[in-house]
Amino acid sequence: MLMLLFFCYCAVVITGTGLLAVTLKNPVHSVLMVLILFFHVAMLYLSLGAEFLAAVQIIVYAGAILVLYLFVLFLVSLRDEVKMPRFVSSAWLGRLIAGGMVACLLYILPVFTTGAKGDWPAQRVQAITPTRALATEMYSASVLPFEIAGLILLVAVIGGLLLARREKDVHGDVK
């Protein structure tokens, strides 16, 4: 019963803040709404026994990625943002597509059947704690994807540096 109330609370907050985030006029308010949303997603992760991912969700998503968004929002001009129209001229098409999509997804949801169960039952996970179970799986079955993830982060660092760099002309003046 308590879990049900908890899930309903998280679901309502996630849906509400998500809708507010994509419709609010001030982009900073949108980012703050997404912050609340990320915290509630992390709470759902905790209730699903993914404590490490809940911590990563708060540290990486709420701590790093959203701060990056805020910085970029402050770098571009916010002054006239609140006076400009928020939506593209063909916004009704986007609403139609998103509405049709959620209707289709929820319609086909009862047909879904789960496959075979994996080899990490709750007792085995509890015996060695969930974080250790995740690490065991990650460093044994998915070592190569782990290395590739490191490579992707390197590409992101180089790409971010290259894109945000100010170019100098032939006289050495910064444009």
């Binding site: 026994g49 990486v60 939506f87 039952p121 992101a156």
Partner: protein, 100 residues
């Protein structure tokens, strides 16, 4: 015990909110933020499946998706800064130089 389909329904709704924001907003930064909402919808689905199917594979996937999301945010926002520096706008419908 909450059924798995509830989590999947919530994930579908979160993903569709992301699609809605991505298709309707003019500001490219809010469009990237909507892409993050979509990724979170997928993550929620994977973690719920991982719990109900007693497998760790879903959580490992979620970890990699968060990595890719961080890389995507860094590069996407770099592109947004570049766009603002060159065109003085972050609105996608004002970037129409290639339009015939």
């Amino acid at each position: 015990m909450i059924p798995l389909s509830w989590y999947m329904a919530l994930a579908a709704i979160l993903f569709s909110i992301g699609v809605y924001g991505f298709l309707t907003r003019r500001n490219i930064i809010i469009m990237f933020l909507s892409a993050e909402l979509m990724l979170n919808g997928v993550n929620l689905n994977l973690v719920a499946m991982s719990y109900y199917l007693e497998s760790m594979r879903g959580q490992v996937f979620t970890f990699f998706i968060i990595t890719v999301a961080a890389a995507e945010a860094a590069i996407g926002l770099g592109i947004a800064i570049c766009l603002y520096r060159n065109r003085q706008t972050v609105y996608v419908d004002e970037v129409n130089q290639l339009k015939g």
